[in-house]
Amino acid sequence: MSRIVVITSGKGGVGKTTTAASLASGLARAGFKVAVVDFDVGLRNLDLVMGCERRVVFDFVNVINGDARLNQALIKDKRLGNLSILPASQTRDKEALTEEGVEQVINDLRDQFDYIICDSPAGIERGSHLAAYHADDAIVVTNPEVSSVRDSDRVLGLLASRTRRAERGDAPVQEYLLLTRYDPQRVKRGDMLSVEDVQEILAVSLLGVIPESDVVLNASNAGVPVVLEENTDAGQAYDDAVARYLGDERPHRFLQTERKGLLGRMFGGS
């Protein structure tokens, strides 16, 4: 039985695509068959973050319209053999994704994959509704910042009322919080909401905390999912989050400021 996971947030620019790429790669590395689907019609970007932008031939909308078969549109990841990417269409027609079309593609993906990761567009319009509609699990990506937290709360409300599970009266979508761009130094100074603050407001189980890190930008520059950067803080934080999603209990890391030694304090800059 495959599981459908939506990566959502409401607010843009908080790290949905980065998270979708890393969760998909992490699950594939753990041996599962994974498809990651870009729902951001008109603003395709998952391909860039995954480093396969030059290999896009057909896309999600081509499959829905019958211009291509699903397996023609799926791009096999070069690093992980059991990972495939379904790119979004660059059409400006936001109506290009139909409810029936999305359902058909999701059902076809179920036959081939253990996990289907849906990378939602920002907002609470049609595209994000379609991305979330079939979800079994939802990962709400949030920055420790007022507008992001408020939008996340809105999105959690929609997950509870407007998904297929909610409409059918099935068990509710399992919701997880992933806090990204976390800066323990600013939290310590009282300039940034702490992980406890955000958890208290949103009341959702915490999947992980990704520290603010240059590694994330460098990885997307290179088209490598952050989780594969194994010797970095953000990479390890994503790896922990994937393990927790699969049921491992791992302590949260990177929540404290690093204690600098005397030399570090003298020469370490900020």
Partner: protein, 89 residues
């Protein structure tokens, strides 16, 4: 700014994070109460407030409209907080 002022300002300044948390808790609980309710709720609330204000001076927050859902029915809960000393308008 003198050094004494500098330290005084630092001590008196509230953490911006705790301001953020407090503001979020208020707005989020407010929005949760309205979420899922019918779209006319904010209008209803506004008009009720106007009617109440014809007789009593109250804060804009004095009228609270909540919808509670049960399996079979919905309850519209209306809460109007009057000031302690009622003034005739």
């Amino acid at each position: 700014m003198g050094i004494v002022d500098f330290f005084r300002a630092r001590r008196n300044r509230r953490d911006s994070a705790s301001v953020a948390k407090e503001r979020l808790q208020i707005i989020v609980s407010h929005e949760r109460a309205e979420q899922g309710g019918p779209d006319y709720l904010p209008m209803l609330r506004q008009e009720l407030l106007e009617v109440v204000r014809r007789y009593v001076t109250v804060d804009p927050d004095a009228v609270r409209v909540d919808v509670e859902r049960d399996d079979s029915h919905e309850v519209l809960e209306l809460n109007i907080t009057l000031p302690e000393q009622q003034e005739e308008v």
